[in-house]
């Protein structure tokens, strides 16, 4: 196979799979709590800054994972208690409150680290030969980890007792509560879990992007577009949405350029929002 074509295909796989992990966190929270957490991207950003922090402390890259999880568990618990829980009955205000939170986190990190770009060293710098194409091994690893993560979570969701409970709450929160499922605790844990997933993506993606306070904005928009295209609250929708948004951007960018890639994604998202707001795979 043509090595350039192989490289392009791997680029698409990389973009789609890493995007899917970010969206998964957002989708789980939206599916269960009905809360569109507009600060989701900022948790990705915080994860990335944790990777940078760990590097400045001369610790190994992977040490960033527990640091980021710890930070986001604490932060997630606080946010759930202060912002999300009091506003369950006011979805519109939740949107605004989490939007305010995103500004707060962005400006807070900026106050500490400044607007400048931070760089995190890539842990694996060699490349691997895939069907004649030289592809950077960290990117390959990241794509593999992302796919495994999404697949693992889907499997867990379908099989485990907690997964069943979550599905029960999604279907009928009142009934679930009356049969003894601790709905409040489950909602809290799900929110924190979503934040942690975002932070984990942030850590893993940090070496491959300039780390700066505004980076979350791109993730939240793209993730939202994925949910819009794929449909809210279904896993098939999540994967197909990531495929459409990530894939279209990569492919259009590969054939034309980034301006077109970016604009095409925006137009697709607007068309979906307008004409098919429930996405490709709406929840029944």
């Amino acid at each position: 196979m043509d090595p350039i074509l192989t490289t392009n295909i791997l680029n698409v796989v990389y973009e789609v799979s890493t995007l899917a992990v970010v969206v998964l966190g957002l989708a789980v929270v939206f599916g269960l709590l009905g809360v569109m957490n507009l600060a989701h991207g900022e948790f990705v950003m915080i994860g990335a800054y944790c990777a940078f922090f760990v590097q400045t402390q001369n610790l190994p890259f992977l040490a960033a994972v527990p640091v980021a999880l710890l930070v986001c568990i604490v932060l997630g618990l606080a946010v759930e208690r202060i912002l999300v829980r009091p506003l369950y009955a006011r979805p519109f205000d939740t949107l605004l409150a989490t939007w305010g939170l995103s500004m707060l986190l962005r400006e807070g990190v900026e106050a500490v680290y400044g607007r400048g770009f931070k760089s995190v060293a890539v842990p694996l710098t060699d490349s691997i030969d895939v069907l004649g194409a030289d592809y950077p091994s960290y990117r390959l690893l990241l794509a593999a980890v992302s796919i495994a993560l999404v697949a693992g979570l889907v499997w867990w969701f379908v099989r485990s007792a907690t997964g069943r409970r979550i599905r029960a709450v999604v279907n009928n929160p009142e009934l679930a509560g009356s049969v003894g499922i601790p709905v409040t605790a489950l909602a809290r844990n799900t929110f924190v879990f979503g934040c942690c997933l975002a932070a984990l993506s942030g850590v893993l993606l940090a070496p491959l992007m300039p780390v700066q306070p505004m980076l979350g904005l791109d993730f939240i928009l793209k993730s939202f577009f994925v949910l819009v295209v794929g449909g809210l609250g279904s896993l098939v929708g999540l994967i197909s949405g990531s495929g459409v948004i990530g894939g279209v951007e990569s492919i259009v960018s590969a054939f034309f350029d980034r301006t077109y890639g970016y604009t095409t994604v925006l137009i697709i998202a607007i068309l979906f929002l307008w004409l098919r707001p429930n996405g490709l795979f709406p929840r029944t």
């Binding site: 506003l87 305010g100 500004m103 400006e107 900026e110 929002l273 707001p277």
Partner: protein
């Protein structure tokens, strides 16, 4: 009216003397923030009045700024500017109106989706402004834009902005008090009821959004000659966000809130950004606190006091115009109507026909499809197959607002009205529906409309004459009766009532029964009632229809139905 004139005079005087008090530099600064404030006023209209949040207002501000900038560059000193500059301000309004029509069309829920569409659109606008180098000048923007002919001094710029702001404020103050404003607030509270009163909600919302586009456009069109430079940031996410924050902190539902927010926070930000490194963090925290605890914003504490002092309700002295098509055929027919939701079949070939005035009751066990029958008739549920004819024409899938205008009224099971509006305003929405033309909605006279039905309803239920009470403060039974009265004052020929006696006391039930009998005869209408209370049914029904599992099981007089073994079997089966 007198208070409006007094208000106008005070506003104009304050804006006129301000530059003398604060000096040239602050006059210049205020001039800029006044333009932002005008755009923020538009958010106040959409979000504070009509209840939907646009997150991409900068797109309209930027569009107007580019159009105005290009006009000034290419037609410097030409008389064409007299057309082009107002055009630059109006074009975003048309765009917004168009977007509103498309997005709101056929969609009952607009909340977050609308917000996110506008956000995506503003990002798209930024991309276009940033990349279209030949026209917009790309990242560096349009430069060396000439100022408005004949104006050079900073104080001149101030007066232009101040005049624009004053005009916009006065126009909005008028609209907020006019029937249009009441209608917007009604839309924010209960879109469904507004539709069932005969208003095409999507057009109302699109009009408000269009108006907000014009406001952003006025700001943007004046920005270009004032700043002599237009850059893509004007279309961007940050300005869009700022406009929303200003409206929220200042008080989105108040008249002056967005202006106070824009001027106060804008100036604080401009001065404090260099001084306090955490200023942006503080601002974000303030915004969160406002969203959580002070939704009314700063002016929300102040303005209602003044409004209460100045607001007096117009006396009901003017008979409303008659509804068109107030008389004629009153029959309807459902022919093999099928409705499914997901995998559940709700109506399975329902046949039902009424051909003349009278009182008809729909009964049947839970899940028989009684309310669904109403929903299918009023376009709330999609009909998969079959036909619905109302007053002799095919009306399958027609929208509720259209049906209301041809004379179909509907009362819901749980009272559906506008809890934050007064009883008077609730009545007015009912009176205006199908009767008020655009100029009635913009003028003040239609506040004083009344009708014979309204007077009679108030005579029957004296609490309905206490028109300054908030509808949400009424008891459950009173709200049921208020909604019924709202339906009746629209003088429909076909009245659909869903459990009108639910939650009523014995006496209230009796009063309602009499009211229905009275109005049904008075309007010579067909009244169809879904009811469980058999006493109610026995007293009122000329004819009864029994529904079971989405089909018509039996129909006949009270006596015939009571004698029907199939009906008895269904009820026994259902209760077993």
């Amino acid at each position: 009216m007198a208070s409006f004139l007094g208000h106008s005079a005070a506003l104009v005087a304050a804006l006129a003397v301000l530059p003398q008090l604060v000096g040239e530099f602050w006059a210049y600064t205020l001039a800029l923030y006044f333009l932002y404030a005008i755009a923020s006023l538009g958010i106040g209209l959409c979000w504070g009045q009509a209840g939907f949040l646009p997150l991409g207002q900068a797109m309209f501000f930027g569009l107007a700024a580019y159009l105005s900038g290009l006009s000034l560059i290419h037609f410097k000193d030409s008389w064409l500017l007299l057309l082009l500059l107002p055009g630059a301000a109006l074009a975003p309004g048309l765009l917004a109106y168009g977007i509103g029509l498309l997005v709101f069309r056929g969609r009952t829920l607009s909340g977050p989706f609308f917000a996110m569409i506008t956000l995506a659109l503003t990002l798209l606008a930024f991309q276009i402004a940033n990349s279209w180098n030949d026209v917009t000048g790309g990242f560096n923007g349009l430069k060396n834009i000439p100022g408005l002919p004949g104006l050079s001094d900073f104080t001149d710029l101030y007066y232009i902005s101040a005049v624009a702001l004053a005009v916009c404020l006065l126009a909005i103050a008028w609209l907020r008090r006019a029937p249009a404003g009441v209608l917007w607030r009604a839309v924010a509270q209960n879109e469904q009821r507004v539709r069932f009163c005969g208003f095409a909600v999507q057009n109302v919302k699109a009009a408000v959004f269009g108006l907000s586009g014009v406001l952003a456009g006025i700001g943007g069109a004046l920005y270009a000659p004032q700043q002599n430079l237009v850059t893509p940031q004007l279309c961007g996410f940050i300005l869009s966000a700022d406009l929303v924050i200003w409206a929220a902190v200042g008080g989105r539902a108040t008249l002056y809130g967005p202006v106070v927010g824009a001027v106060l926070i804008g100036i604080l930000t401009a001065d404090l950004r260099d001084e306090i490194s955490y200023w942006e963090v503080i601002l974000a925290a303030i915004f969160i606190v406002v969203v959580l605890y002070f939704r009314q914003g700063l002016m929300g504490f102040v303005e209602p006091l003044f409004e209460r002092l100045s607001r007096r309700r117009a006396p009901r002295a003017l008979d409303s115009p008659a509804r068109p098509q107030a008389s004629g055929d009153t029959g309807f027919a459902l022919d093999d109507v099928r409705v499914r939701m997901g995998s559940v079949s709700i109506l399975e070939g329902l046949d039902l026909a009424i051909d003349g005035p009278g009182i008809y009751c729909l009964i049947g066990p839970n899940g028989a499809g009684k309310t669904s029958c109403f929903n299918a008739m009023t376009g709330e549920l999609p009909v998969r197959s079959g036909h619905i004819r109302i007053f002799g024409s095919t009306r399958t899938g027609n929208a509720a607002d259209l049906l209301s205008r041809i004379g179909v009224g509907r009362k819901f099971q749980a009272p559906s009205l506008f809890p934050d509006l007064t009883v008077a305003e609730n009545f007015n929405i009912g009176l205006w529906g199908g009767r008020a033309r655009l100029r009635d909605l913009l003028g003040m006279r239609s506040h004083g409309w009344t009708s014979a039905i309204l007077r009679e309803a108030q005579a029957r239920f004296p609490f309905l004459a206490e028109e300054d009470r908030r509808a949400g403060d009424l008891s459950h039974g009173q709200r049921q009766i208020l909604e019924l009265a709202m339906v009746l004052i629209a003088e429909p020929r076909l009245i659909l009532l869903d459990e009108p006696s639910a939650g009523l006391s014995q006496t209230e039930t009796q009063e309602v029964i009499e009211a229905i009998r009275w109005v049904s005869g008075r309007l010579n209408a067909s009244t169809v009632i879904v009811e469980h209370d058999m006493t109610f049914v026995r007293e009122l029904a000329d004819r009864i229809f029994v529904l079971h599992q989405g089909r018509l099981l039996a129909s006949g007089t009270v006596a015939e139905i009571q004698a029907d073994n199939r009906v008895r079997a269904v009820y026994v089966g259902a209760s077993a």
